[in-house]
Symmetry: C2
Subunit: 189 residues, 2 copies
């Protein structure tokens, strides 16, 4: 049997999500996920540390497009303009093809506090990485963290709007609108 099985990782992700959605996250075992994906438990553990991690891209995979966006912004751009262009560019990952998976994944996460905590930790890692990249561009604190956290807030709010409406506008377009709204909400009177 070949150690490398083409597509095993993706099959495991889809099988796991289907089982979590149908039977509940707590109730599903790694053995069931592996069987449903047609691989061994050993193969499961070659790809994922545990049952929870199947639902999450690695932080590096998830965060890299945002950091590339920050690096690509013009030298004289303001902190929130840098973050906004990075967040909107990274939205390309989420398209019609991924919407169904994302929607089902979200409902599994919402039903389980342990998964919610993991998702929040991922968002916190994203904000912290963006803030670090902004500091690397010479932006001082607390402006770097405020801009980074605001960008992640816009992403989360927009992502929820996008998931809630199957015929929604593209995520990038929703985000652009929510960034404008953020400017209105936080404008000094």
């Amino acid at each position: 049997m070949a150690r490398w099985e083409p597509g095993a990782r993706e099959r495991l992700q889809i099988a796991a999500l289907d089982l979590y959605a149908a039977d509940g996250f707590e109730e599903t075992t790694v053995a069931e996920i592996a069987r449903s994906a047609g691989v061994t438990e050993r193969t499961f553990y070659r790809h994922f540390a545990d049952k929870r991690e199947v639902l999450f891209r690695t932080n590096d995979d998830f965060i890299a497009p945002y950091l590339e966006g920050v690096a690509a912004a013009p030298a004289d751009a303001a902190p929130l303009a840098i973050v906004s262009s990075a967040v909107v560019a990274a939205a390309a990952f989420f398209d019609d093809r991924t919407a169904d998976y994302a929607r089902k994944r979200q409902s599994v996460i919402t039903a389980n506090p342990e998964l919610q905590e993991r998702e929040l930790l991922k968002m916190a890692a994203l904000a912290s990485a963006i803030a670090g990249a902004l500091r690397g561009r010479g932006i001082a604190e607390p402006a770097a963290t405020l801009a980074a956290e605001s960008g992640v807030t816009v992403f989360r709010v927009s992502f929820e709007l996008w998931l809630a409406d199957p015929d929604a506008r593209p995520l990038a377009e929703i985000e652009a609108g929510v960034f404008v709204e953020l400017g209105v909400v936080t404008a000094s009177p």
Copy 2:
């Protein structure tokens, strides 16, 4: 033996934090915490569900002052002005008397991903409760969530600045400054 032991809750909190800081969160047992506080394990479990919860006020206790602040804001106040007055008013809980405990607690939490996740969940619950209170005042989405999340971001950034400097200005004063900074960062060009 009386079922109600005066001060047991507070003694347990202080004993637990001291043990977590000295020996590590993972390494400390409930039996050790109870012994150090001079109570039984049973008493520990009358007050806290588990080892982790000793470090957290209940969501209700933590969130109530913020909701009172939202309720007290003038009827015609803008969303972020409502949130800002609520956040600054709730800062009264954190004074010189609580700073040492808060500082030690923060270093225990920073050292443990499981505790970090719990802290993030608490912050998410706060943002969600404030957004709900804003919607109750007739403020629409996404403005309600953007204002609430921005307020929690300002709280977190300010809280870290306050903890980092033992001779810092009062938390409320730091927060007022960070709200101004947020307005600058998020201003449209």
